[in-house]
């Protein structure tokens, strides 16, 4: 074998290798920094090993942020999934109106989430916002949407839902349109009703697509920053300070770099574990869907 031929596999892996290094280098460096007490007030820091992580886990603020993050991610992903799939099912009956709605539906995805949050912040403003203006005839014009902890969290989730439900709907719609037709034809011949068809055929075969959407949305929601920061800055009190906001405040605003990075590493571990669990389920669900389609 000539030397060129022997070298070829190694040359071919160079782009992948560079990409891997490009990903791993900052990550490794970040991980390394968490072992020090690096901050603006201590630019030449001492090695503290895992002390930053110990501090993170013993802080009440961390557990509050973790809880808020989970509430937000589960709430947003769940509502977006239900709404997205519903919208996809409605749009699947391809009428002219459906096709027009499909085009409109994609609009929120074209707006940067931070801009969407600012628009919503204006709309939710109690005295001049359009939401309270519309609710005024119902006697509900005085709602202070983001002034209470629950209101602030629900408002943030609502903005997330507004921005990302179309993403779930589009994925689910693509899934619906790629399902095999024969099981449905067989069902129709057997006189199966809409609900039965949906429960026994559509949903099992659609699950892999829905789960892909859930994985993306859940992971993204765990990492949320822009929507909440633009809408509430983490307030009132600490009620919407998710892990990303806490990390940003620690690392950038308060300049405790190592400590801030420790927060992001913990968040990375949470997202990684959640993704692993969901992806494992995705495999199982894909196999089940294939079985339904083959029947």
């Amino acid at each position: 074998m000539g030397w060129r031929l022997r070298l070829r596999p190694y040359v071919l892996i160079v782009p992948a290798l560079l990409l891997t290094c490009g990903i791993l280098y900052p990550f490794g460096l970040g991980l390394y920094y968490t072992l020090f007490d690096f901050s603006a007030s201590k630019p030449q820091p001492d090695m503290v090993r895992f002390e930053n992580y110990e501090t993170v886990f013993t802080q009440e603020a961390f557990w509050n942020s973790a809880w808020v993050t989970v509430l937000y991610a589960v709430g947003a992903a769940a509502v977006e999934t239900v709404l997205g799939v519903t919208v996809a099912l409605l749009l699947h009956r391809s009428t002219i109106v459906g096709r027009v709605l499909e085009k409109i539906l994609i609009l929120p995805l074209m707006i940067a989430p931070v801009i969407a949050a600012i628009i919503w912040k204006l709309m939710l403003q109690p005295s001049v916002g359009v939401i309270n203006y519309l609710l005024r005839p119902l006697g509900l014009g005085g709602v202070q949407w983001t002034d209470t902890p629950t209101g602030a969290l629900l408002s943030s989730i609502a903005v997330d839902v507004w921005v990302y439900t179309p993403f779930v709907a589009i994925l689910a719609l693509a899934g619906l349109r790629s399902l095999p037709t024969s099981p449905f034809e067989a069902g129709a011949v057997d006189g199966a009703g809409w609900w039965y068809t949906f429960r026994r055929l559509t949903l099992p075969m659609l699950w892999p697509y829905v789960l892909v959407a859930v994985i993306f949305r859940f992971m993204d929601s765990l990492k949320v920053f822009d929507i909440i920061y633009a809408l509430t800055e983490g307030g009132p009190g600490d009620s919407t300070v998710v892990l990303q906001i806490r990390a940003y405040l620690e690392a950038i605003r308060f300049q405790r770099y190592s400590f801030g990075i420790s927060y992001t590493i913990v968040l990375w571990a949470v997202v990684y574990l959640a993704a692993m669990v969901l992806v494992k389920h995705l495999g199982k669900i894909q196999r089940k869907a294939a079985e339904v389609a083959a029947k």
Binding site: L24, L124, P126, Q144, F254
Partner: protein
């Protein structure tokens, strides 16, 4: 075949080693980039007689915050270039992102910007890591500083606000001069004269009166023809900026402190019985007479509500009201008057201040040219022109505050000059200088929001003090 496997392993091992080299190098290089430090000041290199043209042909890079003071500076930059032959390139960022941009830039250890705007609080954050040039040696060097700059012309409390020894808890006015006062704000009450007249009200002289007044306006103003008007606009967002204007001013007038300092150790004092009572009263005032959606209020909303006749009063920077009060600026222009605000129980008019200062990057490679720029930007000629022909008000120099043309310009705003002259000597930084200022005040703002939301002031402030004791003490 064995040989092939061996080769592949060796290749992978070598590649891994090569990939790890920069990582290890980065680790070995330490943190924060280049850390060359010199004990001597670059100001010592400037000798001979003072010459504005000394750095002709140089370009200075400035980072600026979007602000009317900045507009006045940019409008006059041509004069600087004509005077010195130095070109100024600048980037302007809105305030929401400005300090993050500056912090990240300075912490990178590079000299992307030679000069920049900052507040006195930022000196406490940027000073200890060595990011700010000590301007004292430049000011003292007659070869670097022209006689007409006239240091004695600055209001002394403003110059002192940018001086610090970099030791937590040490008073201001000692140590290095880490920035120069350029434009400032004093925190007073501005009010809508129309609503006061119609409801027969007078500006409050005590805090109790202010709370009462805020509630009265919110209750009665809508019925008197001021649709949707509430009593008092004060900041409420979860940010350090919520604490420093009206809240800290009234807190200080009540004789309260953020920290007590003993033997260099800081102890949080936001949970003393008096501080708890005051904070409860403040939150109560906001609930009874403050804006809806207060927890998102920054100075932009407060200022625009006063201008839009949505707020009867504003307890914030005098400039925030001024920008609405000038002719044609807002529906309320011509109807806004100024008052020093409530006195403390002992008659105190202690007022907290904000100073837009100008600082120099300690890593700048063009310090001499940068100093000429700072000297010009804080000099009498530019500041007087900016005060008279633009909106660079609240002069940092005594000569401008006393200038006839400036006074003529401000005279049409009821109470502005009188209020300024009443509080100017009592306006200073009311916070205790320390590097964790932003953490402490952001947490304080969050605590204020929780109390406003109905949580017990005592327990919330005890929690805040306990949390801060570990970080600051």
């Amino acid at each position: 075949m064995d040989m092939h496997v061996h080769d592949r392993r060796r290749f992978l091992a070598l590649t891994a080693a090569a990939a790890a080299t920069p990582l290890l190098a980065a680790c070995g290089a330490g943190f924060g980039g280049d850390d060359n430090k010199s004990d001597g000041s670059a100001a010592d290199d400037v000798t001979g007689s003072f010459d504005w043209k000394r750095e002709k042909g140089t370009t200075v890079k400035a980072l600026l915050n979007k602000h009317p003071y900045t507009d006045a500076l940019i409008a006059d930059l041509k004069s600087f270039t004509e005077k010195t032959g130095i070109k100024v390139e600048y980037d302007v960022f809105p305030e929401d992102n400005y300090f993050d941009k500056l912090t990240v830039d300075l912490s990178s250890g590079r000299a992307s910007y030679d000069v920049f705007m900052l507040g006195a609080y930022m000196v406490w954050q940027y000073g200890p890591p060595g990011w700010l040039e000590d301007l004292g040696p430049w000011m003292r060097n007659s070869a670097a500083t022209g006689a007409e700059w006239d240091q004695a012309d600055f209001f002394p409390n403003l110059l002192q606000a940018d001086q610090w020894s970099l030791k937590a808890g040490a008073p201001l006015g000692q140590g290095g001069q880490y920035a120069l006062p350029w434009g400032w704000e004093t925190n007073v009450v501005a009010y809508n004269t129309d609503v006061f007249k119609r409801l027969g009200l007078k500006p409050a002289e005590t805090f109790d009166e202010l709370r009462e007044l805020a509630g009265t306006i919110k209750r009665k103003a809508p019925g008197a023809g001021f649709d949707g008007m509430y009593g008092i606009a004060v900041r409420g967002s979860r940010s350090w900026a919520t604490i420093h204007p009206g809240f800290m001013t009234m807190y200080a007038r009540n004789g309260l402190q953020d920290f007590t300092v003993e033997g260099g150790k800081l102890t949080p004092a936001m949970n003393t019985p008096q501080a708890v009572a005051f904070t409860e009263d403040w939150a109560g005032m906001v609930k009874q007479g403050g804006p809806p959606s207060w927890t998102s209020y920054t100075w932009y909303q407060c200022s625009s509500d006063l201008g839009a006749k949505k707020a009867g009063m504003l307890f914030d920077a005098d400039t925030a009201a001024y920008f609405q009060a000038v002719e044609g600026a807002s529906p309320a222009s011509g109807k806004i008057a100024f008052h020093p605000g409530p006195k403390g129980p002992d008659g105190s008019l202690a007022t907290n201040m904000w100073i837009w200062s100008l600082g120099m990057n300690a890593k700048s490679k063009k310090k001499s040219a940068s100093w000429l720029f700072l000297q010009w930007a804080t000099g009498k000629e530019h500041l007087l022109k900016s005060a008279i022909t633009h909106n660079h008000i609240d002069p940092v120099r005594k000569s401008i505050a006393a200038d006839g043309a400036y006074k003529d310009k401000m005279r049409h705003l009821p109470g502005f000059i009188e209020t300024f002259e009443t509080v100017v000597d009592q306006t200073k930084i009311q916070f205790t200088p320390q590097a964790q200022f932003f953490d402490a005040t952001t947490s304080w703002a969050a605590a204020l929001q929780e109390i406003y939301g109905g949580q017990g002031a005592r327990s919330v402030l005890d929690g805040l003090a306990g949390d801060l004791a570990d970080k600051v003490g």
